[in-house]
Symmetry: C2
Subunit: 269 residues, 2 copies
């Protein structure tokens, strides 16, 4: 069986809270008002998006980090991020940032939270809308290598009263100091992932298009940071209906071949 490097795009729909509603059509008075309105009359902060781009390698979280080669925090490592442009939505900004800094397209993303402490960035008032993004390890390794601006770092997670505190990043050549509040954002991303795991299809975004139930179980265990009972897990996943057998097995290994499954979104027939 050949490795599939191109994933099914339809599965990679963003889970982000939608922005559908549009204001009703303006009447004349409102139109006149708007023509004269100057938003710049109010002081404005800067707004960025920062993306915790996560994957699972060898049972532990890894994040794609970009080395800052400009001030501030020069030499430290940061989440892929950037200023939000006036003509793009937050989701568009996330997609652009991922494209430019990691070379990845069509990534599964969800909004995490917005961080607005006054002093979180030494340049001044910068509010950041943090997202997390999930990609299977093989795909991330392959596409990051091509881009080369970002590196993959293992995350060391300390529990802090039930949920993860700020994480430490470790690259192949040792610890990578993190910029700004990004250690905290990564910790919160992992905490959110844990909390949603059984209700959201997040784990399927971390696993290749075709996977065995033990692959998936390993992903759950990595996210939760603990073991999961095999039989119990299989019952739950199969009963959920979120998974459909491909009809093939993964052969060529030195033991009984495992059945391959594919993610089937809940809204499919």
């Amino acid at each position: 069986m050949t490795r599939e490097s191109a994933r099914d795009r339809r599965e990679l729909v963003s889970m982000t809270a939608g922005d559908p509603p549009v204001h009703p059509p303006a009447d004349d008075e409102e139109a006149r008002f708007l023509a004269a309105y100057d938003l710049a009359a109010f002081p404005r902060p800067s707004v960025t998006v920062d993306v915790a781009l996560l994957t699972i390698v060898d049972g532990s979280f890894h994040a794609a980090l970009v080395r800052r080669d400009e001030q501030p925090a020069m030499g430290r490592w940061a989440l892929p991020g950037g200023f939000v442009r006036l003509d793009e939505s937050l989701e568009d900004a996330v997609a652009r940032v991922l494209r430019d800094k990691t070379g990845l397209h069509d990534v599964y993303t969800a909004q995490l939270a917005t961080f607005g402490a006054v002093d979180r960035d030494p340049r001044g008032r910068i509010i950041t809308v943090a997202y997390f993004a999930l990609v299977p390890a093989d795909r991330l390794a392959a596409e990051l290598a091509a881009g080369a601006r970002a590196t993959l770092a293992r995350l060391e997670v300390d529990e802090e009263g039930g949920s993860p505190g700020p994480v430490r990043a470790v690259g192949s050549a040792g610890p990578l100091p993190l910029a700004f509040d990004h250690a905290s954002i990564l910790g919160q991303a992992i905490g959110r992932l844990r909390g949603r795991l059984w209700y959201a299809p997040d784990a399927f975004a971390l696993v290749p298009n075709e996977f065995t139930l033990l692959d998936l179980q390993g992903t759950y265990e990595a996210i939760l940071g603990g073991r999961v009972d095999k039989n119990s897990f299989r019952r739950r996943i199969l009963a959920s209906g979120l998974v459909a057998p491909v009809g093939r097995r993964r052969e060529g290994l030195r033991s009984r071949p495992a059945e391959l499954f594919r993610f089937r979104p809940a809204d499919a027939t």
Copy 2:
């Protein structure tokens, strides 16, 4: 027994994601860079906070809404909100907005999500960080009447594929048309509340300081939009340890008096 109008402040801690981390001290080079740095070189959107201030009256959600008496969306009804100032955190902005527009202090709040569609506000690019805030009905009614800038409207919630869609607001004199994307934000606030209900102490913020288990059950039923079994509910709540008997009963009604309980945060001994 006398009505308690002042609630215990210690219970009203914000549940918002903290903003503790601060960048490390700048070295000389970074200090020089920062002195010359001009954030305004990048285009900046405007940023607001909007607060879905919710309570439960007669088993249904009500929200505090402010009539817009300026353009745009003049005459429509909006969530209490306002521009974030450069010297205040998001949580500070939420507290200020609640104080100025509704007269409330020390309210239980949590961040909901950030909405950044390019066209969500006709004035231009305005990103809003939405929060929800929860207050017991008696307190909200009393303090809102004093302020008088805001009104309390019943929310009609339509299910839309499992989670609430945009809501309709109904005041004492009929439907209140909502401004901007606020109908959608309110729907999402209710959806979030439902999802967190059994894991977060949200319901305790909607109930007076002292409450009976049937009061609390009614709150759960209102949030979930369905009935909850009495015995099952009591077992769960009592087993959770989040509730401590006051040692008194609510008497004077026309039936057997019910035992009063008080919320006890999980981190108490």
